[in-house]
Every structure is written in C-alpha cells, then in structure tokens.
Amino acid sequence: MGNVIFAPFEVHKQGLRECVINMGINSNNTLFPDGFFVEDKEDVDESGLLASVSVSEFLNGLRDLIEEEFPYVAIRGEVSSISIPRSGHAYFILKDPDAQLKAVMFQGARNRSRFFPKEGDEIIVFGRPSLYRPRGDLQVIVDRVLPYGEGRLERLFNELKDRLDREGLFSQGAKRPIPEFPDRVFVITSPTGAAIRDFIKTARGRLVTSDVIVCPTRVQGDGADREVIFAIDLAESMAGPNDVLVITRGGGSREDLWTFNSEALARRIYSCKVPVVSAVGHEIDFTIVDFVSDLRAPTPTAAAQVLFPSREEYEDALIHLGERLTRSVSYKIMERRHAIKDLAHRLRDPKTYLYESRVTLDDLSYRLERRLTTLIAHEKECLKDLDSRLTFGVVNKLSLSKYNLKRLSSNLEALSPLKVLARGYSLVSRHEDGAIVKEASMVRVGERLVIRPAKGHIKCIAEEIVE
C-alpha cells in the first residue's frame, strides 16, 4: 500500500529520504512513524496496522517534507481562474500546457506588489509550496509576482497579427466599403447571446430598411471558429451586392474571445466577397477578426449604429429640405411678381417716354446752342486778333518806311550839288546838250556855255581854251 501512496512521488522518494536523513530527522521522529518510508512492498506489514498513518499524519509529514525540500521557489506559468473573494486574498491557477498548480497570494503580499497579473498573463511567482491539508491541495503561497514577458496567448496573438499584417491582410487598401442602406444584414453570432439582443434592440430605434438575417453559430470554445467560417460560407452563398455581414459576440475573457483570433477565420474573412463588420467583445478588446474585417465596431450596439442611420436625423433633414424647397420657390415667384409690377408701372404712360425725349431734346439743343455761341465767340476772338495784328503790322511798316525815307533824303541832301554851289562853287554846262563840263577840252572856242551858281544862271561864250 505504501508504495502505492507514494507512486506520484516515485521520482522524489530518494531525494525526500535523503533530505530527511540529512536534516537529522530519523525514523524515531514522531512525525514520521516507523514504516513511513518503505524500501519495497515486502517491508509493509500485511495487516497495515504497524505501518499505517492517519491522513493528517501523512499530509503533515508530506507538507513538512515539501516545505523542507522546497523552502522557496520561483515558478513560471500562465495565470487563469483568478478569484479574489471578500477576504482580499487572491486565488489563481498557474498552468502550462501539461500541468497546473494552485496558488494563493494573501492580501498583504498582494498590497505590497506593484504588479498583479490578469487572466492569461504569463508570470513568475516567488513563494513557498505547501500542502493545504483541509483539501489535500498542493499550492504555492506567493509573496511576489513578476510578469514573464507577455503571456502565451498574447504572444500567439501578436505573432499571428504580425504575420497576417506582413501578408497584407489588414491593409486599408483591401477594405471593402460598407454599403449605406444595405439590402440584407447577415449577423453571425450566438442566437442566445447578449450581442444579438443588443444589436437588434439598437437597430429597432434606428432607420432600418434591411432584412436582418441571423446566422446562428457558437462563438466560443474549440471548433467555434470553424462554425463561424461555415456561417460565412452560408451567408456569402446567399448575399447580394448590397449586403453586409456582421460577426459579433459580447464581452468575455481573453480565452472566451479566442475564437476570433483564429487564423483560418481571419483568412476566410479576408477572402469573403461580402463586406464584413466585426464587433467582438467590449471596446477594449481587439481580436484578429477586428483587424481583418472591413470595419471594426467596438461593440454590437455600435455595429447597429454604424449600419443603420439615425431615423431622427433623416426626418429632420427632410423637414429642413422641404422648408428650403418651398422658400426658394416662393422667393422666386415673389421676385418675378416684383419684376412684372415694375414693368407694368413703366408701361402705364407713354407720355413718360415723350417727356423724357423732350427733356433730352431740350438738353441737346441747349448744349448745341451753347457750343455754337462758344464757337462764334472764339472765331470772333481769332478774327479780332488777326485784325489787330494786321493793323499793327501795317502801321509798323509805314513808320519804318517814313523813317527810312527821312534818312535817305537827308543823305541825299548832303550829296546835292546845290549845297556845294551854296559854298560858292558853280556848275558849267554846255548849252547845246547840257553836258557838265568837267575839262576844258570839252569846250570849243565860241561855244555857248551856261554857268550855274547857287542862284540863277549865266549865259556866256568861251573866248579861249587853255589845255
């Protein structure tokens, strides 16, 4: 029996024994009755009476062994099932793919710690392992906790996200536009979840003209991603060009939402011919589906708001447009009426034109007259000017001539032979022809001569010629 009990600890048996011996704990120790450690089946008393211990004794011994062997340990694992009851102590499970271990972090230690993990975090806990005897549970009493990088899920998520991103599955260019006023909205979700309730409730308050077609599917757990893919296949086979797909579920833990981090699902959404709106979890939750979908709505309610416009908005817009329509036409009519009135007013009395023409005529004739007067005056002025210039010119010329004449006559006077005669000279001329005698040879003896002194003349005959 003994070795059956110890079976899980087979590997450690030797170590535990040595540990106990090394620490000076011998088989006489009250905690370890005779027969506690057995080498093999043959050593166990057939009746079991000698070797048997009570459960408490056994667990006490085991606990002490564990606490002696592993006084302080650092264990790495992923956190799940965190529970913090009113006591303030935190209980959670530390796990890896093959095993899990219970852990407790008492309130004091938790208060001292700067970091406290959330679900899914991969962490390292520091503390001492112990046995909780009332339940027979092995648990580690944590006094310090540190994050170990990012949790495993987080790492998987990021790896997938980076890979698909590099492949271009999230590129904005690949996003299909979401139709306004879609004909049909296929909602892929759990028919009993909060998401479909929220979506429909919100849609009822808005302007919905579409058929809303629920495609029931599981939204969490193993294989849920394949169900969602199947629902996409089904919806796509029925969808028309003005339809849209909504993939939604309500909030939940990271594991609950894990379906929406499926690579196969992401690739199916990418290849889907119909535009896809995703609304997974709460606003803070981002899944791969959110990245690959054509539009991410933070919540199912938000998805309904995105797809269906506000009814009031359109009702108000129509009222407003109607008012503007009527007002603009009324204004136009009023404008025309004014124009016609104006025309009629101007048409009423043709005399107005006559009067206007007359005024124009008057004005023109007045201006003509004035112009003519000015012209005449100007011409007169010109004539006057010419006249005065002419008169002045003639007078000028006359007086100049008079002056010249006077001067000339005075010169002439100076040259007159009479002046010379006055000084006692006389002129002698031949009587016959009147020629002035300039030399004696001009005269023959007996020729008649006329002598002209200053006054009167003397007739005489030449007696002798001396040459």
Binding site: I200, V208, V214, Y314, A317, K332
Partner: protein, 78 residues
C-alpha cells in the same frame, strides 16, 4: 414592390439636396424652377413614405437536413 426596390432612399435625399441648392441659385428660370419644385415635393413624399414603412425584418438562416440553406422568419426573444 418593384417601385419600392427601384427607389433608393439615400439617392432620393441626395437628389432633393441638389434640387434645393439649384433653386436657391438665382439664375434658374421660373418655369424650370417650378418643374424642379414639383419633383422635390414628390421626392419628399416618397422619402416620408419610405420612412414610415421602414422597419426591421428579422430572419434566420440555417440549413435543412440536406444542407440546403433555409431562410425563415426568426423568433428571437429580446
């Protein structure tokens, strides 16, 4: 039903907006304006009828045993 299908609410609202903008422009002739006004009033009436009729029709898409898509009215508790 056919006419309802042909009538696109959003396009009607857009056309209405265009008409109102045109009418608010002074250069449009009155006879053209009156025709547009008539069209606008008709559009408003159609839009209002559309709003009155618009309601959510809820259906459910599943498959029958033979794997044929099956579309039926949905009975979801809200």
């Amino acid at each position: 039903m056919e006419e309802e299908k042909a009538f696109r609410f959003k396009e009607a609202v857009k056309e209405l907006e265009t008409i109102v903008r045109e009418l608010e422009d002074d250069t449009v002739d009155l006879d053209v304006a009156l025709k547009k006004y008539e069209r606008g009033i008709r559009l408003i009436r159609m839009c209002n009828e559309y709003l009155d009729k618009a309601e959510l029709r809820l259906k459910e898409l599943t498959q029958d045993e033979g794997g044929v898509p099956l579309l039926k009215d949905a009975q979801l508790e809200e």
